[in-house]
């Protein structure tokens, strides 16, 4: 009994660490969005620098998972949970990487000023951020309906991506001088779109973790 209690306590700590990781990632996306909107060089640099912290957190959580699997031989539900968390960590870490990549691209742009206000990309990023937030909420509350709904949002992020790319291509055709900035913005949009994809993965993992069905 006492061993199981210890196991439950470790599971709870792990749960808290996962949420911690999620909030770190969300914060990183928030800062990225702010940096994008304000064309803020300092903020972008900060996000790039803080990516290491997230990588470290990922390793900590993964080690915890492996340690629990190795020493406690969890069965059924717990094992499924731990395996899902392991996979979720990868997605979270990738999301943070994309945020850092966006900021790196932004650093190349800063000083130039945007050729047109970054409306669509910022809105798209907010949408992707909300997907990550919803996935985390679904994870915390074991809310399967919320987890399932996340993939529906992904298609609107993809739609946004198509519009953004079309707009930027149009811009390049009209004004070849802006090709450099436009391509960088397309890359940024692609990264945002990938964040949406990883958030979809997170949603699927959470729903699989709760229901056990793929």
């Amino acid at each position: 009994m006492s061993i199981r209690n210890g196991f439950n306590a470790s599971l709870h700590n792990l749960h808290l660490d996962v949420v911690e990781m999620a909030s770190l990632v969300e914060y990183s996306i928030d800062e990225t969005i702010l940096a994008l909107q304000q064309n803020n060089r300092a903020l972008a640099q900060k996000v790039v620098a803080e990516d290491d912290k997230i990588d470290k957190m990922e390793r900590i959580v993964e080690n915890q998972c492996i340690h629990l699997i190795a020493t406690q031989q969890p069965l059924a539900k717990e094992l499924r949970r731990l395996m899902s968390i392991l996979k979720m960590m990868t997605d979270f870490e990738r999301i943070a990487d994309h945020a850092a990549d966006i900021c790196e691209l932004l650093l190349e742009l800063t000083g130039e000023g945007y050729v047109k206000p970054l409306k669509d990309i910022a809105e798209m990023a907010v949408m992707a951020r909300n997907m990550v937030k919803n996935a985390t909420d679904a994870y915390i509350n074991d809310d399967i309906t919320m987890a399932v709904q996340i993939s529906a949002t992904d298609s609107s992020v993809d739609d946004y991506f198509d519009t953004v790319v079309a707009d930027l291509q149009e811009m390049m055709r009209k004004n070849p001088a802006q090709i450099k900035q436009a391509t960088t913005l397309i890359f940024i949009a692609k990264h945002v779109e990938k964040i949406g994809d990883h958030a979809t993965n997170l949603g699927e993992l959470v729903s699989c973790m709760i229901s056990g069905k793929k």
Binding site: H15, L16, V19, E20, A22, S23, L24, E26, Y27, K133, T136, I140, N141
Partner: protein
């Protein structure tokens, strides 16, 4: 409990029945055997008398005849044996064929002691037999009469006895069982009642009572349970009331409040805090705060200050949560016992969104004013420099430049005039220069002022006044300023050939001004910010029109001065309508 009592009870009954059965069996057997012995002895004594009365015992037929006679009557085997062991007569077998009996223990005993007894298995008749031998002295010649009876009857009796005892035990067990159940119930029922009662209390139901009227230990227990319930009910109600009071106080706080323990689990949270962080989770108390409020900076701040912050010192953090700005204050919650100094952290959240907005507006205003003042000045300075640099000698250019300088100086003066006006209205709490005026004459004056620019842009302006409306109590200059600003906007942001219409309606003591144009209109996203200082929907256009960006701001402040209301209806491409209600009609 009931089962235990019952089992113990049954085991005891079975044990007793068993002991009683064994005892009674032994007693019965003993009694039966002694009865058989007595019978044999008494028959023996009768035969003894008979034999003594015989004349010649050595006439074997005599003894044999006696044996046969008595054996026939009594069903007992009777044998006569002399001292040498020869059989002299037998009731069941031919005595001549019988073996010498001198080795039989009862015979030996009888010759020695006068009477012998033995129980043996007889080979000749294959049964257990009881033997009684009695010595008879007949004319100094000793012989022995031996009586024997099969005692396997005793087995029949034993079986009967056992079945009687078994039946008795069975009846006893049944009776005892029924009684036992009742007895067990009598003990367990009040205990069960008490159990249900205390379970109810544990669930928080203080309504039930326990009815046990027993004048024993259980009765006393029930009574003390009732006392305990009353006391608990009282204490809990008091606590509950205190709690409700506390919650009400906390919830009426303007700022949000959260108390967490040392493991960051929420102990208490006020409704304001729940609203501030938009918490939808139902189970909040006891949950780790990280799971409830997912703000990385907030949680990091909490963690950093977990043990470190000095006594009595507050820590402050500014965070942005969704679209709100919060100031977070942390202070430690001190426990009463010295061993447990810090029992948690108190978090107070203050919504500083409005303060932030004001700060932002102020800094925007300062930068706007400087910018607005700088633009005409730069151009004036530029033209003066050019003039100084030689352009002054070219008369035509110089005149054009001076015109521009004039326009810019005019704009600068307008701007400063507007700023002064605005600050004057802003600091004014009540207008002192109020008087009685005719509304129509005021509007005519406004039209005289505005006429020039309307004609220039080919805009048609006209007004309508309710017949019921003639006199107003107002500061004439302020009202004129307000109407000029509104109509001027209507003209500026209009297409050539358009129209501006002023309607004045009376609603009780309220005058309703409608200033309607059919110009370019305003997009909905701009309307909420329209009255901010220096806010321009289209910066280039406004400046070209000579606007200062303060016109509507002044209008709003004048309306506020008279406790009026202002409303904007607009549609892009169709026109704009400003509706102003002022309580100034007499």
């Amino acid at each position: 409990m009931q089962r235990k009592i019952m089992t113990g009870y049954l085991v005891m009954i079975l044990f007793c029945a068993f002991i009683i059965g064994i005892f009674s069996y032994h007693v019965a057997q003993k009694h039966y055997i002694s009865e058989v012995e007595n019978r044999l002895l008494s028959i023996g004594s009768i035969i003894k008398q008979k034999v003594i009365s015989l004349e010649d015992i050595y006439d074997h037929n005599n003894l044999n005849q006696i044996a046969l006679d008595y054996g026939d009557i009594t069903d007992i085997r009777i044998t006569f044996i002399d001292a040498k062991g020869n059989v002299l007569g037998d009731s069941m077998a031919d005595y001549m064929t019988l073996k010498n009996h001198s080795d039989r223990p009862e015979i030996i005993q009888a010759f020695r002691e006068g009477q012998g007894e033995s129980t043996r298995y007889s080979d000749s008749i294959k049964r257990y037999l009881k033997y009684i031998a009695i010595k008879i002295r007949h004319n100094q010649v000793p012989i022995v009469v031996r009586l024997s009876i099969p005692i396997d009857d005793i087995h029949v009796i034993r079986n009967e006895l056992i079945s009687f005892i078994a039946a008795g035990v069975l009846v006893a067990i049944l009776a005892a069982g029924v009684l036992g159940v009742q007895f067990a119930n009598k003990i367990t029922r009040p205990i069960n009642q008490l159990t249900t009662f205390s379970k109810d209390i544990a669930k928080g139901n203080f309504k039930g009572t326990v009815e046990i009227e027993a004048n024993n230990e259980i009765g006393a227990l029930a009574q003390s349970f009732m006392d305990m319930k009353t006391q608990l009910d009282k204490t809990i109600t008091e606590l509950w009331e205190k709690n409700v009071e506390m919650k009400a106080i906390l919830d009426s706080m303007i700022g949000g409040l959260i108390a967490v323990d040392n493991d960051n689990r929420i102990i208490r949270i006020s409704n304001t805090a729940i609203e501030m962080f938009g918490i939808k989770k139902k189970k909040i108390i006891g949950e780790n705060i990280l799971l409830v409020i997912r703000s990385h900076r907030f949680n990091q701040f909490l963690r950093e200050n977990r043990d470190s912050f000095p006594l009595g010192n507050q820590q402050v953090l500014d965070i942005q949560y969704e679209n709100k700005f919060y100031k977070i204050y942390l202070s430690r919650i001190e426990g009463k016992s010295p061993a447990n100094k810090k029992i948690g952290t108190l978090i107070i959240i203050q919504d500083v969104t409005n303060i932030r907005k004001l700060e932002q507006m102020r800094s925007e205003f300062v930068s706007n004013v400087s910018h607005e003042l700088k633009t005409p000045l730069t151009s004036i300075k530029g033209f003066i420099d050019t003039l100084k640099g030689g352009a002054i000698h070219d008369k035509e250019v110089a005149e054009r430049f001076l015109d521009i300088i004039d326009i810019e100086a005019e704009r600068l003066s307008n701007l400063i005039g507007d700023i002064l006006e605005l600050s004057e209205i802003e600091t004014m709490s009540q207008d002192e220069h109020m008087d009685d005026y005719n509304l129509e004459s005021i509007i005519t004056e406004v039209f005289d002022i505005i006429h020039h620019s309307a004609v220039k842009k080919n805009i048609h302006i006209h007004y309508e006044i309710d017949e019921a409306l003639s006199r107003v109590y107002v500061n004439k200059d302020k009202l004129k300023q307000m109407l000029i600003n509104l109509i001027d906007n209507g003209i500026k942001y209009n297409n050539a050939g358009g129209a501006v219409k002023i309607l004045c309606r009376r609603r009780h003591d309220i005058v309703e001004f409608h200033v309607r144009d059919d110009g370019i209109g305003i997009a909905p996203e701009h309307i909420s910010r329209l009255f901010e200082r220096f806010y321009r929907v289209d910066k280039g256009r406004s400046r070209n029109q000579g606007g200062t960006g303060l016109g509507l701001s002044i209008v709003k402040h004048i309306v506020n001065l008279y406790d009026g209301q202002i409303q904007v209806k607009s549609e892009v491409g169709k026109g704009t309508e400003f509706i102003i209600r002022l309580p100034i009609a007499i």
